[in-house]
């Protein structure tokens, strides 16, 4: 709790800087308008005007908060203007992709740990693939799948799965290899079979790594879903909200969608963290 005050200070500083930047960045428009009307602008007029513009260069925090509030609470949940609706679309694709990616990553990790040939052939590629900007293929996957007649949730989920797959694979391989030689030798003295070693030693000891990679993976899945919603044609989801906002210059809409996405990411990571805490405590591994 000692760090609450510093965090609040930093957040307050960010808000203050933001307000200052909003005045600075939006003042050009105000001066242009005043010059056109042949008026002089006093400082207080300048400040009030920069806070209340319809399409500001940088919306002030309270404008974003208002946009967010209207998007979340001011609309019916089924409305096309509701951020809850768009967030829900993004959330469902993220979760579908995350589950797909996690299952695939875990299965492949189990294969890699138990099969030396697979380890030697797949692992270098899995690591190298992390250096590749995979997101670049998102628009192509969307178009190709659409031409095959697959639309809606699945293409986005595939991209999200692809992005969350590699962190989980790498983390799980590390986790399943976490038991040291002594523990493995102990199980050998018990004459434990391969599957017994897996269920009783490898899997439990991989749990901390598993949850660490799940947190990375779920954040990656959300980024993947949002980028997958960008290509033309997408009308639902937070990514589509960002894109339409940028087409029509609706800066407040962009910022509101951005904050909704940030909140969604925070909630997802926090939920995974809470599950981690509970599971590790039940397994007697809480630190």
């Amino acid at each position: 709790m000692k760090s609450v005050l510093p965090i609040l200070t930093v957040l307050a500083a960010i808000v203050v800087i933001w307000y200052g930047a909003a005045v600075g960045l939006n003042s050009k428009w105000t001066y242009d308008q005043a010059a056109r009307a042949g008026q002089d602008v006093s400082f207080s007029q300048l400040v009030t005007d920069t806070m209340t513009q319809e399409r500001p260069v940088l919306p002030a925090p309270h404008q974003v908060a208002k946009g967010l509030w209207e998007g979340v609470a001011g609309q019916k949940i089924t409305s096309k203007r509701s951020l809850v609706y768009h967030g829900g679309v993004t959330f469902s694709a993220t979760m579908a992709g995350f589950v797909l990616g996690a299952v695939a990553g875990i299965l492949l990790a189990v294969g890699i740990v138990h099969n030396r040939a697979m380890d030697m052939s797949v692992m270098p590629w899995a690591i190298a693939s992390q250096t590749i900007p995979i997101l670049a293929i998102a628009p192509m996957v969307i178009v190709v799948l659409a031409s095959l007649g697959i639309k809606g949730l699945l293409p986005k989920a595939i991209i999200a799965a692809y992005l969350s797959f590699f962190p989980i694979l790498v983390g799980m391989v590390k986790g399943l290899r976490a038991p040291d030689g002594m523990q493995l030798d102990l199980l050998r003295t018990y004459n434990a079979s391969g599957s017994e070693t897996f269920w009783k030693l490898r899997l439990p000891s991989s749990m901390p790594y598993f949850f660490a990679s799940l947190k990375v993976g779920i954040a990656a899945a959300l980024v993947g879903t949002i980028v997958a919603e960008l290509p033309a044609g997408a009308t639902q989801g937070l990514g589509a909200r960002l894109l339409s906002g940028s087409y029509y210059g609706q800066t407040i809409q962009i910022w509101a969608a951005l904050f909704a996405a940030a909140a969604l990411a925070a909630v997802l990571v926090i939920v995974v963290g809470a599950i981690e805490k509970v599971v590790l405590r039940k397994m007697g591994m809480a630190r």
């Binding site: 930093v10 040939a117 628009p139």
Partner: protein
């Protein structure tokens, strides 16, 4: 069909060969290169065989040979896109973002109060979908590479900051006490002890940031760009269903990504030669 059968036969044979090598010579140096190389080649041949054998439309999945041919004939377009996106956008943003993060880390390191406040915020921001800020920055900085560089700055800043702050805290008591007995000043301790000790952490962050920089530069082009650049080419070529060109761009992105990462790994090796993870085993 024969192409498909040949590919499957090759696949089975290569898998058997890899399995045999992994069983008999798991620790040979050449095996560590040969086995993954053979696996990669197998994937390519299987891909080629599937596309030819099943007559998959090139609109859905072009064969690797078609992609290679397209790559060879459009090298000047690809080079122009590479220069626009990677050399101008990603690299400029990477240098600015990482430099700023290192300077900020050194600045806040002197104040435990700021560190306690900024680190949780930085960790939180590092998990957010920062790519989403791209449309705003494109609006502010225009369509050219400056806006791409700004997106990259935003994306690489926090991971590098968090790692650098952790790195500056990596010296132990004994080492700092030793510097104190030498009556070393703050800047001397920083230059001779704490910056070198922070290097393994810094390079960890720098390596993560290479991929983020490329992602930021490419995705930012989806929101508006001049008529060149990798993100622009990918989205227009997808619209024209010119899939071999899209795959060529992806190949360029993959090469640039691994090259960039490899370069940072090489520099890391030269700078942190003393660290246990870099010593020869």
């Amino acid at each position: 069909m024969s192409a498909l059968i040949i590919a499957i036969v090759f696949w089975v044979a290569a898998t058997a060969l890899n399995g045999w090598i992994a069983r008999t010579r798991p620790n040979a140096r050449w095996a560590k290169l040969f086995v993954p190389a053979l696996f990669g080649a197998t994937l390519l041949i299987l891909w080629e065989g599937l596309v030819r054998g099943l007559n998959v439309s090139p609109v859905i999945l072009p064969a690797p040979s078609a992609i290679a041919a397209r790559f060879a004939e459009s090298t000047d377009v690809l080079w122009g896109d590479f220069a626009q996106t990677i050399l101008k956008g990603a690299l400029a943003g990477y240098v600015i973002g990482c430099g700023a993060a290192v300077l900020v880390a050194i600045a806040i390191d002197r104040s435990p109060f700021l560190k306690r406040g900024l680190l949780p915020v930085g960790n939180f921001v590092a998990a957010l979908p920062i790519v989403g800020i791209a449309p705003i920055l494109v609006m502010w900085f225009g369509f050219d590479w400056q806006s791409k560089a700004a997106v990259v700055v935003m994306m690489v800043f926090f991971p590098v900051l968090v790692n650098m702050v952790a790195g500056l805290a990596a010296t132990d008591r004994l080492q700092r006490d030793l510097m104190a007995t030498y009556s070393a000043s703050y800047s001397q301790t920083l230059a001779k002890l704490r910056l070198p000790a922070a290097m393994p952490f810094l390079f960890n962050g720098l390596k993560i940031a290479t991929t983020l920089a490329l992602i930021g530069a490419i995705v930012a082009e989806f929101f508006g760009s001049p008529t060149r650049g990798m993100g622009f080419r990918i989205s227009t070529a997808v619209g024209q269903l010119d899939m071999p060109l899209v795959w060529s761009e992806i190949a360029v992105a993959a090469l640039a990504g691994s090259g960039f990462f490899g370069l940072m790994a090489l520099i890391e090796k030269a700078v942190t030669f003393w660290h246990p993870s870099q010593r020869r085993r």
